[in-house]
């Protein structure tokens, strides 16, 4: 690539050459960080009296291990033992660091580790569901970060822990770029044009457009000759206090932030608070009628709920969502920073919902289903599936524009707004009047609409909810009818997506209408799945430009599949 690269990208470039590389030298220390602190604390607390005595001069009661050693004249041996243990630790650390290596080839990320028990993990680039850069407090001090690459499935992560902080950002950009098919299409254009000149021009686009994740650090690099140390320190400090999302990485209009007061309000007005109030009311009643023992049972739970609020609050405090060329980027955390990039086409279902208490304020929440989950937990200790903890209608339309870039456009804005707030009787296909028997309040609102390969399911009048499922991601569809439904001539529909908080379903539809829905969704899912190319998102314009050219996914330089003639090679390669 001849285009100008930032320092981080130049550093990252060295790591994506398909050779084995080692991680940050402080890795064993950071991984065992907690253990170290614990051991140190244990030793210190055991020697507390001695240390205090050393400075203040309290009477010596004897009997502690150091006295024993002293009395027997074993100082030499003790020091030797400590030295040996330290050396062994260092040796083990060094060895584990030596044995822990990773490589990034054109189609996979591999990690191998372990001294006695070797493990090796490999994640295909085109199967990547998300890349998370995590910076725990201790690692931030050392300027290191974890790169957590998740592929579909439970516990299917490849972790590069730890890397240099800016390197992690650069590598993320590189891996995403490789997964997006840019390199492949570059190779395709290069060979098609028959020269390296074309290569440079093609590369310029993605590189400058790519997440120039380290723009803040790069300018400091050239003049850092003299004050290298002070430069390092300022850089660390800058990294520490810098905003978690670099302004160069995303256009400002695609960034959503949550004001702390709103976050606080949303937590206070959550369903959990109502539950808590009910419990407290019961307690008060119980206490006033002399059943104080109730308090003893419930008190631990109440204390636990405080930690729930604090946890939610601190984790969501620096929440930010932004659109980058390689997908949606979600960052959060106060001390431990986490910052995940979900490439396009990895979001299987989106739900916009509004509890009753949020309605006066016009607040909404957005949740999604994804196939892979980062090891790092989200705000509620669950996999991080909340795209927007709380936001107003403007935030919602921005976030939807990020998670469903092809659908949530101006063209469909009214439709989505109708799905969110409408009381019914509009362009959505609704339930018949007799559905009021099973959905007394929401039968008018209940409805669905299929537009441009996305199905919108609208339901709930108390808990407003609008679920959107791209049919290209749908796994299967089901309609069902129980005895009560049959009496009323109704039926329910259920769309099966990968597991997550969004469970798209719609009850109390007109029975013949549900059959129509079933047929439309089934055929729509097949058609969209065949035309869907979002898993190789950057290839899209290229393929449109030259649809009859050689299969762009078969990179001329890299994989042995090049020889395969037709598009079925493309499909196989994706598996």
């Amino acid at each position: 690539m001849s285009a100008p690269l930032s320092a981080a990208e130049r550093a990252a470039e060295r790591y994506t050459d398909g050779e084995w590389h080692r991680l940050h030298p402080a890795t064993p220390l950071l991984r065992g960080g907690i253990v170290f602190v614990a051991i140190l604390g244990f030793v210190l607390s055991n020697l507390r009296e001695r240390i205090v005595g050393f400075f203040v001069g309290t009477p010596d009661f004897g009997g502690d291990p150091i006295d024993q050693i002293y009395d027997h004249g074993w100082e030499g041996w003790a020091l030797l033992a400590i030295a040996v243990v330290l050396l062994l630790c260092l040796g083990a650390f060094y060895l584990s660091w030596r044995m822990h290596s990773f490589r990034i080839t054109d189609d996979a990320v591999e990690v191998r580790s372990g001294i006695l028990f070797r493990t090796q993990r490999k994640a295909r680039l085109d199967r990547i569901q998300g890349i998370n850069v995590v910076r725990p407090v201790l690692a931030r001090i050392f300027g290191a970060a974890k790169l957590d690459i998740s592929v579909a499935g439970h516990d299917a992560n490849v972790q590069l822990a730890y890397l240099g902080s800016s390197l992690a950002d650069g590598l993320r950009g590189d891996v995403l770029r490789m997964a997006s098919g840019v390199r492949a299409s570059e190779a395709g254009t290069g060979s098609a044009a028959g020269g390296a000149v074309a290569d440079g021009t093609v590369a310029a686009g993605p590189v400058t457009a790519g997440p120039a994740a380290d723009g803040a650090v790069a300018p400091g690099a050239p003049d850092g000759r003299v004050g290298a140390v002070s430069d390092l320190v300022t850089r660390r400090v800058n990294e520490f206090i810098a905003p978690e999302l670099d302004p160069n990485a995303a256009p400002p209009e695609s960034v959503v932030k949550i004001p702390p007061l709103r976050l606080l309000g949303s937590l206070v007005l959550s369903g959990f608070t109502i539950f808590l109030l009910v419990v407290i009311a019961l307690l008060v009643i119980g206490a006033s009628t002399g059943r104080v023992w109730l308090l003893l049972i419930v008190l631990p739970g109440l204390l636990g709920s405080a930690s729930f609020y604090i946890n939610r609050f601190t984790k969501s405090l620096r929440y930010s969502i932004a659109g980058t060329p390689d997908g949606v980027r979600v960052g959060f955390g106060l001390l431990t920073l986490s910052n995940e990039t979900l490439p396009p086409g990895r979001i299987h279902a989106v739900e916009v919902l509004q509890p009753l208490l949020w309605r006066p304020f016009g607040w909404w929440q957005i949740r999604i289903d994804t196939a892979g989950h980062s090891k790092e937990k989200g705000a509620a200790g669950q996999p991080n599936t909340t795209m927007l903890p709380v936001g107003d209608a403007v935030d919602v339309s921005r976030v939807l524009g990020l998670v469903l870039p092809n659908f949530a456009t101006d063209e469909h804005r009214d439709l989505i707004a109708a799905g969110m707030t409408s009381k019914g009787r509009d362009a959505f296909t609704g339930s018949p009047r007799r559905a009021a028997w099973v959905r007394p309040f929401s039968w008018q609102r209940n409805g669905y609409r299929i537009v441009d390969g996305v199905i919108l399911l609208r339901r709930g009048i108390v808990w407003r909810s609008l679920a959107m499922v791209p049919l290209a991601r749908l796994q299967s569809v089901e309609i069902e009818q129980g005895p009560i439904d049959r009496l009323l001539g109704l039926a329910g529909a259920r769309l099966h997506t990968v597991s997550g908080p969004v469970r798209p379903r719609l009850a109390a539809l007109d029975a013949p209408q549900s059959v129509t829905l079933f047929d439309d969704v089934a055929s729509g899912a097949i058609a969209s799945a065949q035309s869907d190319r979002s898993h190789r998102w950057a290839e899209l314009p290229f393929e449109q430009a030259a649809p009859l050219a050689a299969p762009p996914t078969a990179p001329a330089s890299a994989t042995p599949q090049t020889a395969a003639p037709d598009t079925s090679a493309h499909r196989e390669e994706n598996h």
Binding site: D126, R127, Q129, A152, G345, A371, A472, R473, L474, Q475, S476, V477, E478, I479, E480, Q481, G482, P483, R486, L487, L488, G489, A491, R494, H496, T497, V498, S499, R503, A511, S514, V515, F518, D519, V521, A522, S523, A525, I526, A529, Q530, D532, S534, H535, S568, R571, E572, N574, H575
Partner: protein
């Protein structure tokens, strides 16, 4: 009843008639176990409402046995060009469509009774746990053939996740 759901897709492939035996044996076995538990509660544990429980179990089992043939007949599947349709249930009807390209793997299971009768269950797994499509009671050669056919179709229609 005209309210019943029906897809106008033509003839459904049905499972083997012998599958009724599997359903009946299953109903009898679970009925006997539950009845034994109820009897234990009633006579040994001296739980006075035990006889009601026993009656419920017996009636439930008998009803289960009566509708067993209909339940077995209600199961059907149909292979369309790009997806597999599946149906089952009388009281609770259920229709599922699984596009071939979404199938991640296909299991063949054989229970003890099914094995005696030469039957096998075919289970489809997609990336969604809630899909849960199992075609029970297929004759073993049919099951094996269907599996090979479906794997082939899934292979040719693969799309991303």
């Amino acid at each position: 009843m005209s309210n019943r759901l029906d897809l106008s897709v033509g003839e459904w492939q049905r499972v083997s008639p012998k599958y009724v035996v599997v359903v009946i044996v299953g109903a009898i076995v679970s009925g006997v176990v539950l009845a034994a538990a109820a009897t234990f509660l009633w006579l040994v544990a001296q739980w006075s409402w035990g006889w009601v429980l026993l009656a419920v179990v017996v009636i439930g089992t008998i009803v289960g046995l009566i509708i067993a043939p209909r339940r077995a007949r209600s199961i059907g599947y149909r292979m369309r060009d790009d997806d597999l349709l599946f149906r089952r249930g009388i009281m609770y009807q259920r229709f599922v469509s699984v596009p071939y390209g979404r199938m991640q793997l296909i299991d063949i299971n054989r229970g003890p009774v099914g094995r005696i009768l030469g039957l096998a269950d075919l289970k489809f797994v997609t990336a969604a746990a809630s899909t849960s499509v199992v075609i029970p009671g297929l004759p073993e050669p049919v099951a094996a053939e269907l599996r090979d056919r479906l794997v082939e179709l899934a292979e040719s229609r693969r799309a991303g996740l």
